[in-house]
Amino acid sequence: MSTREARGATDTFEEFVTATAGRLLRTAVFLVYDRHLAEDLLQVAYERVARRWRRLADGDPEAYARRVLVNLAIDEGKRRARRRDLPAGSVADLDRIAGRDPLQDSPLDGELEDALRALPAQQRAVVVLRYWCDLGEREIADTLGISRGTVKSHTARAMAALRAHVREGRTHGR
């Protein structure tokens, strides 16, 4: 392989980073609700993509990066759950830093965020992939490495938990 080809591959990877960093960063933040951790996970995901860039360039490198990201987030969520830890930051923190209160924008936002943060990592990943990334059941199953039936059960449990959390929040809000 010539130097030019190698440089061309690197340039393409840089373009790939420029094009996908925003989307993948938002996905990472929604997966872990911690901006700094999300950036770290995103960097690890891009490192793995860069290592296999020649093989992935012809396919769908963003799907691969998303898959790495989701699995890293799930592993991190399980690790935190074992330590009975909570995410250090949240989307609400970002909103407060930006100078706006998310609760004023929508009465559901604060409840939804709390409910999403309370979900197990894999259920939250299913919700994020379904309602943020707009993936279908089969794509979610491929991304997470689980069966479609498991995707359905995770989705049902997550939605039930979110619904109960929102209903409980409304009851307490009255």
């Binding site: 980073v17 420029t18 960093a21 995103l42 860069a50 939804l112 939605m159």
Partner: protein, 208 residues
């Protein structure tokens, strides 16, 4: 309700996403990962080419396995090689054990064959005194105190507590254990020993 909740989730994500933008420093850091991370495809291709004809999974499966943190093809091969080495080592050890076992068994039984018959007929002494060679039942009662008592003039080489429990088979008397020779007939401490029963706990005092 699920449609409403789904719409609320989409709306929540969309509005929160407006404020999540990668800054310049992060973009620079992410672009630098290409130069920091070496491309592993080039050296791996040469290894994969050896087994490509036998691989049954599609080419994307290996990348998917890596993404899930699972074992890659190279990792599986490496584990297989080490497993083969381990099995070969285990077989060699097993063969050594099987080959060496008969010789070890002979060495183990040979001293017993030599020791057991030796002391009984060669023990001198007056005919009225009981035989110093204890029967198995007597040996049980006399083993503890007498074995720790050294014979005068013939210091025991063991120097410690008795190392063996009665095994039910006759063994050499304690006084013979140090030198391998029987004591002189006149000074044998076993001559004053009662014919039956336990030996006094203080042991046999040496007579000067």
């Amino acid at each position: 309700m699920d449609d409403d909740l789904g719409a609320a989730l989409r709306d929540h994500f969309r509005r929160a996403a407006d404020d999540i933008q990668p800054d310049t420093a992060l973009l620079h850091r992410l672009r630098e990962t290409a130069s920091a991370a070496p491309d592993r495809t080039a050296p791996r291709r040469s290894l994969l080419s050896l087994t490509r004809s036998t691989r049954t999974s599609p080419p994307g499966r290996e990348a998917a396995s890596d993404a899930h943190g699972g074992a890659s093809g190279r990792g599986v091969r490496r584990r297989a090689v080490w497993a083969g080495v381990g099995v070969a080592a285990a077989v060699v050890v097993l063969m050594l054990v099987v080959v060496l076992r008969p010789e070890g068994g002979e060495e183990k039984t040979r001293p017993a064959d030599q020791v057991v018959p030796a002391p009984a007929p060669t023990r001198p002494g007056p005919p009225s005194t009981p035989s110093p060679m204890p029967t198995p039942s007597q040996h049980v009662s006399t083993a503890f105190p007498s074995t720790a008592t050294p014979t005068p003039g013939t210091p025991s080489t063991s120097g410690g507590p008795p190392s063996s429990r009665p095994s039910g088979e006759p063994t050499a008397p304690p006084s013979m254990s140090g030198t391998g020779e029987p004591p002189p007939p006149g000074t044998a401490p076993t001559a004053t020993r009662p014919p039956h029963g336990p030996t006094p706990t203080g042991g046999v005092r040496p007579t000067s």
